[in-house]
Symmetry: C2
């Protein structure tokens, strides 16, 4: 069930991810450092760009669906981290050679959009991990800052993901690989999640709304996959929908979105620390449509940004994040 | 196996999709025309916008992954269809209230981006079908204009999809719906595909490259899902990859991409005619990386646009499309 104030236990169990120490190594023997590697969808490459020079100092990768939101987050980080921007200069989209994603760098932080859904995030994640490897980065932490539908909690609340589940409530992602279905477990760093939760409860920037630590259901579809009645197609009744959403809720799921499962399993596979922080835009136990005014949604969408920026700021200032 | 010049047989079998006649009806009894319907991800709605006035004349919906490419296609259509643009005016992105997709209208044609991957296309497809329904549109034809990896054919070739298959070579999409896996068959209009194939062989705009009529494999992942060796993770060997790609090729698949399966099954479910036309950017039997110069890729990416624009132009001029 969802918890608002669980304390860190420090317990390491079999599900705890193994985090790489030192320079990020790829779990792929086919990528040789001397050979050309084109990061096609972000329009970068290890031969066309001096990746170590551009990215060696990166310690945080912050991902979110919307390009505008990730640009806003980059702008917010400039002031939050007091990054010096020389007169006459400004942030630029480093991936501007492609229109698939946007990529900003603010000091040691990358702010990058991943589009909508698991496949879109998957492409970006592969290419960002390769970028960090080619750049010689070490000890990088990943965040997904997202929007979601809530279950039984007030819209505008934050949910820090305890575990990501698929649309059938299974804690792994299936990737059809060479004609076979391969399952990769979803494992996020529990210590990082607890640090964020504690910070949400104490940081002045993060007050005025609730923050939960709960499971997140990740679907491959926004309408039928999330039991909505308002898609172009719908083969079930309102009572079937409610029975399913109540079952999901009673399984300890506080929110539903479309990327956390891939993010969590790929963080685990890459050996990087990862956390998912989403704001809820509505309570799915009460409706399907997002009708909250735009300016209210905009304020809500800044809530994950404030929490993650606060964590990064404390980390960089040498304080314990909490 | 792939064919370059199969003639239309006119045969209707059990797999032939049933096309709606007259005004587009939704297969969803929960959408009532009097109630508000917010098309959230394209920032439109039936109460906030006069959808019949804006969109009643739409006869074609053209989708593609990249926002820039779909803007270019809209601009190309202005000249190809000789659409009158009043002095001092220009095309605008109708979905500019959101940054998830772009949406342009050129006479009776919508040119819209769907992002990358099935989930991203799924959201857009639901909302476009609802838009057409609210607008009172009838007899609308859908096209996906995409990029893909080829199998055993020269890069720059066009592939018109005969049937879309998933990463396990199955001709249906699975949607986790209310906790159960539901399979929706992939059925494209064979007559429309044959009209396009014939046009590709005769239209002066479409010469200088080959066009194939073949199966298309649609994956949920660009790297492991498409048997690449150059992702951030790879648990298989080069010979495993080649064995799999040869098996896919020998199953009659000429190209691999990431959206056709959802597009095909949703066209069938919506009762609209649909076709998938993709250019191949490389031959996957020869490599993984896309290293062709940008300007060559740009020219190749215009090839699906030329074919579809030519089809639409002939349809609108009252000629038989072929």
């Amino acid at each position: 069930m969802k918890r608002k104030a669980t304390q860190r236990t420090g317990k390491k169990d079999a599900d705890h991810p193994v985090i790489q120490k030192g320079k990020l190594q790829l779990n792929n023997p086919h990528i040789q450092s001397g050979e050309e590697d084109v990061l096609y969808h972000i329009a970068l490459g290890n031969k066309s760009h001096d990746l170590p020079s551009l990215f060696h100092d990166v310690k945080f990768v912050c991902m979110g669906g919307s390009p505008n939101r990730m640009k806003q987050f980059a702008e917010y980080l400039v002031s939050a981290l007091q990054v010096n921007v020389p007169s006459g200069m400004g942030l630029t989209n480093i991936a501007c050679g492609s229109d698939r994603y946007v990529l900003y760098k603010v000091g040691p932080v990358l702010s990058v959009s991943h589009g909508m859904g698991v496949p879109s995030l998957s492409i970006l994640f592969h290419e960002i991990v390769k970028l960090l490897h080619h750049a010689g980065c070490s000890d990088v932490t990943f965040f997904r800052l997202g929007t979601s539908g809530g279950l039984g909690i007030e819209p505008g609340s934050l949910v820090i993901t305890e575990q990501a589940l698929d649309g059938l409530l299974r804690p792994y992602i299936e990737v059809a690989t060479l004609g076979k279905t391969v399952q990769h477990p979803s494992r996020l760093d529990p210590d990082l999640a607890q640090d964020l939760l504690k910070l949400a409860q104490t940081d002045p920037e993060c007050q005025g709304h609730s923050t939960y630590f709960s499971k997140t259901m990740c679907t491959l579809d926004f309408y039928e996959g999330q039991a909505r009645l308002d898609g172009a197609f719908c083969d079930y009744q309102a009572e079937d929908k409610m029975a399913f959403l109540r079952k999901v809720h009673s399984s300890g799921v506080a929110n539903i979105e479309m990327e956390s499962l891939c993010f969590a399993s790929y963080c685990h596979r890459a050996g990087v620390r990862g956390a998912v922080v989403c704001v809820t835009l509505l309570d799915r136990l009460k409706g399907d449509q997002i009708t909250t005014p735009h300016e209210v949604l905009e304020e809500w969408q800044r809530r994950p940004q404030k929490l993650v920026a606060s964590y990064i700021k404390r980390y960089l200032s040498g304080k314990n994040a909490t």
